[in-house]
């Protein structure tokens, strides 16, 4: 087991860490930084519950070794809120009842955030593509899609 020195910026805060060769970004976020908003579902890149934004792109944090991402920037669901105010996506998820058990929600939010950062006017199909790697087993997808559409509108209005 070797220790690898890594500096990563998570939600705007720099962290200098020594990580093991098997430590996944998901483990670093949850176990070291105690950012437990990011969930572990399948651990093999199928469910999307662990989605975070890595250098601007939605990725599975269970499919990235922390040792691989020295110098990178990570945004997790905890980083969406600014000064105690929820992000418009979070507001829209509440308003549209896009949450039931909530386990998939952080991943859904991060996939949606990555989409809207790149494409502020997504079509319904583009929204579906953005969240195709995020499984929801209770609410279903309709409310989630509506929430993302509505968040896109309110982000534009601001």
């Amino acid at each position: 087991m070797n220790n690898i020195k890594v500096t990563i910026t998570v939600n705007g805060t720099r962290h200098c860490l020594k990580v093991g060769p098997k430590e996944r970004l998901l483990d670093t976020l949850r176990e070291r930084l105690h950012l437990t908003g990011t969930k572990e579902g399948c651990g093999v890149g199928e469910c999307g519950a662990c989605t975070v934004i890595l250098d601007g792109e939605a990725v599975h944090s269970c499919m990235v070794l922390t040792a691989q991402i020295d110098g990178s920037e990570v945004l997790t669901v905890e980083g969406l809120e600014v000064d105690g105010r929820l992000h418009p996506l979070q507001e829209a998820f509440i308003k549209h009842h896009a949450v039931q058990c909530g386990f998939c929600t952080p991943g859904m939010l991060m996939s949606a955030k990555a989409l809207l950062d790149k494409n502020p006017n997504p079509t319904r199909e583009e929204i579906k593509t953005a969240i195709e790697g995020n499984l929801c087993r209770c609410t279903g997808y309709e409310q989630i899609i509506e929430a993302i559409e509505s968040a896109a509108k309110s982000l534009k209005a601001n």
Partner: protein, 291 residues
């Protein structure tokens, strides 16, 4: 329990030196196959001592139009293929294939080099790349080798990459005038879809006659190969003489002659026939619309 030492390459030279000086080095880029294999302790993830991370080699992240081909750097992601104007202009079937891989998260991380070198029988980029006559470039401290992709593949999850070598790019030669292409895929669901079957067809139509057909199904045989017998039945034929359904059946027979009857054959026999039919019909309709 799989144990390994993690190494990071900061340059291509460093990666090649590491591959040259050590035994038991496994490469990792996007990790979307490697990390699943390690986690599931798959047999193919065993027997390595070092995991060499090449994901930081920006010099291998490019899609470049050259005089005779489009070169795709090994670290180009599937998302780059989907979004590349060059790929969409010259090889739309490659963009279509990339679009069907995994999910947005997988496409953002997974690389062309990874898809080719993992050499899964169901890899979505292999059939279109083989049908397009792609070559791979292998670098080592000893020099450079260029191999046609179909010679590079050696079996399911096996390639002819030598120890010490690293695949750095895939070159896809331009198709001449009059070529048509199509990619088809079926899986159990639309997203996160590992191909039950996929198919790339490339052919030229000149004055109603089919030339240079290339038919490459994936997940049909041990690893994707050109179906030369099926290709032979349409080469030199006029489009009006070709019955796509019949050619589909021929392709299914060719699959069975390669694999024998397997548990999946009753399904794949019908499914492959209809994929081939659909691809040929799509191409012929496009050719007609272009007249």
């Amino acid at each position: 329990m799989i144990d390994y030492e993690f190494l990071k390459a900061h340059s291509l030279d460093e990666a090649l030196e590491c591959l040259d000086s050590r035994e038991g080095v496994k490469l990792i880029a996007g990790g979307t196959d490697v990390l699943v294999d390690i986690r599931k302790e798959n047999a193919r993830a065993k027997g390595f001592k070092y995991l060499l991370d090449v994901s930081g080699l920006r010099e291998l992240k490019f899609i470049e139009e050259r005089c005779d081909c489009v070169a795709i750097g090994a670290l180009s992601t599937h998302t780059m293929l989907v979004e590349s104007p060059v790929i969409n202009k010259y090889f739309p079937l490659l963009a279509s294939a990339a679009k069907t891989i995994g999910s947005t998260q997988i496409r953002n991380r997974g690389t062309v080099g990874g898809n080719v070198n993992n050499a899964s029988p169901a890899a979505d980029l292999l059939p279109p790349l083989i049908a397009l006559g792609a070559h791979v470039k292998l670098l080592s401290l000893k020099g450079e080798r260029n191999l046609p992709l179909d010679e590079f593949l050696a079996g399911p999850y096996r390639t002819n990459r030598q120890s010490g070598e690293m695949m750095t790019e895939v070159c896809v030669p331009f198709l001449g005038e009059g070529y048509f292409t199509d990619f088809q895929k079926i899986g159990r669901r639309k997203a996160m879809n590992i191909a039950r079957l996929n198919l790339a067809v490339v052919l030229k139509i000149d004055g109603e006659t089919v030339f240079d057909p290339r038919i490459v199904p994936g997940a049909a045989t041990a690893y994707p190969i050109r179906f030369s017998k099926t290709e032979g039945t349409i080469a030199g034929k006029r489009v009006s003489e070709i019955d796509p359904a019949k050619i589909g059946e021929t392709a299914s027979e060719e699959m069975i002659s390669a694999t024998g009857i397997r548990w999946s054959t009753p399904y794949k026999r019908i499914a492959l026939a209809s994929l081939v039919k659909k691809a040929l019909e799509t191409i012929f309709a496009e050719a007609k619309a272009n007249e």
